[in-house]
């Protein structure tokens, strides 16, 4: 099994970088089995193609805009995922959707894609998350860990 947890976002624009912050926190604070790779994708696109090939599951963590209250977490699965890409909820889906479409065409698309997101509270220039989104960071971590555990993977928090 191969699973990638992909954090997306621009860390120079506060909450925009929340996906990267989640992946950083996971890599630093959690012991994951070899099947799992944490990827800090930033705002990259085609550069990630190889890392995202032939996955059993792709878990994308990103800031997602969906007219919810600021700092509301959201998990999108199954039929909601194509909708996520069609309706442009994340600033990065242009790049990522190109990557996924390429993988589709070459027959190497992830078997399953899950989006874990949060509504941004601030997108101003700056390297810190807004207090509202920072407060929900543990929740995003828990949601991500739960997705991995649901696939039979042992996730252990580092002491």
């Amino acid at each position: 099994m191969r699973i990638v947890v992909l954090g997306l976002g621009n860390i120079l624009l506060s909450d925009e970088g929340v996906g990267v912050r989640v992946v950083e926190a996971l890599a630093a604070g959690w012991q994951a089995p070899d099947e799992v790779e944490f990827v800090d994708g930033g705002t990259c696109a085609m550069e990630m193609l190889e890392q995202l090939e032939d996955l059993d599951a792709l878990i994308v963590v990103d800031c997602v805009r969906g007219n919810r209250a600021p700092a509301t977490p959201v998990v999108l699965k199954g039929a909601e995922v194509p909708v996520f890409f069609r309706t442009k909820l994340s600033p990065h889906q242009v790049g990522l959707s190109d990557v996924l479409a390429s993988l589709e065409f070459t027959g190497r698309a992830p078997k399953e894609t899950v989006i874990i997101g949060i509504e941004p509270a601030a997108l101003a220039l700056g390297m810190e998350l807004s207090p509202a989104v920072a407060a929900r960071l543990p929740e995003l971590l828990a949601l991500t860990v739960a997705e991995l555990r649901a696939r039979g993977l042992t996730m252990v928090e580092r002491a």
Binding site: C44, M46, E47, L49, P91, D98, S102, F105
Partner: protein, 570 residues
Amino acid sequence: MSKRITIDPITRIEGHLRVDVEVDGGRVKKAWASGQMFRGVETILIGRDPRDAWAITQRICGVCTTVHAMASVRAVENALQLEIPVNAQYIRNMIMLAHAVHDHIVHFYHLSALDWVDVVSALKADPGKAASLAQSLSTWKGNSKAEFTQVQDRLKGFVGTGQLGIFTNGYWGHPAMKLAPEVNLLAVVHYLQALEVQRHASKIVAILGSKSPHIQNVAVGGVANALSLDSQSVLTMERLMAVRKWIDSLDDFVKNVYLIDVAAIGAFYVDWTKHGRGITDYLCVPDIPLDGKGAEFALPGGHIEGGKLESFRPIKTFGDKYFVDGVAEAVRHSWYDYKGGDDKALHPYSGETTPKYTDFQDDGKYSWLKAPTFYGKPMQVGPLARVLGMLAAGHEPTKQYATTALDLVSSLAGAKVGLDAMHSTIGRHAARAIGCAVQCDELAKQWDLLIANMAKGDLKTFNHPAFPKGEQRGMGFHEAPRGVLSHWVVIDSGKIRNYQCVVPTTWNAAPRNENNSPGAYEACLVDNPVADPEKPLEVLRTVHSFDPCLACAVHVVDQENRPVVTVSAV
């Protein structure tokens, strides 16, 4: 009556570039290029440790991460007058070259070929004929009839399900699409093969850069890679041999597929050598340093005026005075305010980034991009500038690949196509492929140099930086895939006091400058044909030939579904 066309956004990849053109009688009369996002990333750096700047600047852009990291460490090293070990140069050089090769392959096949290639038409092709055509042009192993048939079948499946996927943005059946079905199929086959091959370039960057897609190994003073001929967990001979294998695979594809395809498509669109000339003042910088301080380079660079190679004036070293003194940025037509007034351009060391937003004013301010100038004039930067610069400097491999490409174009087009044809929309694609072949050669040479130096027992990769009290200024340039990138840093007692990035797309997509001279996109669009204002494919062709990367101008905001094209009569 003339028509005003607004195209926003103009790229398939991230970033917000808006282009407005006024069309009359099927031709562009006037053009405006506008960056639609405030770019104030530099302000984040003020007060920080100069050793951290590279990691932050590589987050400016999702496409050009590596290039900002390199320009940043070079700027700080220049400020400190710090030489770095040659091994560090070789490793950085390989990362830069592999990144460039990746970028060029992806740009041509995955981001811009669809401006010229009609994917749907490829369904009508005779795969046998298409394969024979491909075999007549190249000995590439992937040109078999079986391969062509298989790809066409896969494409049929895709189109049949109504899911064009990655091809959704194309202008299928547009009157400006001229390729025969067989040539379209050839391009689609190579599109897929390019997807395979580009992975090898990513792998080189990942192995040498210790992490992907954001490299981790760069440091002010060198690189953090530990070198060893045998031990584990460092850059070993085994890993370097793998890198060599990927270099050879890229080389094969670039010379036997990419360069040939660009020449072939160029020959079928030979009328596009007459469009998109625009600015013929070119600027590029030398790169791929061969010594520790950057006084000797593998690839030359310099300044060309009016398209005349004999006017070439070389830029010779890191910190070259001719380059440092020549660069300034104007904001007369940009949404910024200079304390001393907007009619004077400022040098990057004393650059200011104070926003002053107005509406889009045709004759006033209309862009978040500043207008960079070189000795007061706008420049064209990028692959064409680079190739012309190398030709002017007498760089032999560049001459060889340029001759190969132009001879093939001439023979397929049945007419002599010379160097002058390069100053054009299609010429920029040709230049990118020619430059890419040169980069492949150089990638292999840098590998040889590293191995030879390690064999001599030199495993040094890092010199410690020391930050003296008081002020130091430094400039780091890099001939990045999209052209000259420069970072300018002012350090005060170990902290950053000012930081400016003058990025390639800012040169090319610049608004009018302090003298109202248009930027490269704006100038190149004038006289461009537009057959159907509702589908301005020809405008996209010219803008895309520069490989715009407004991502360097930051992304986000505005998730509304805006129309891609709006047309209004004026």
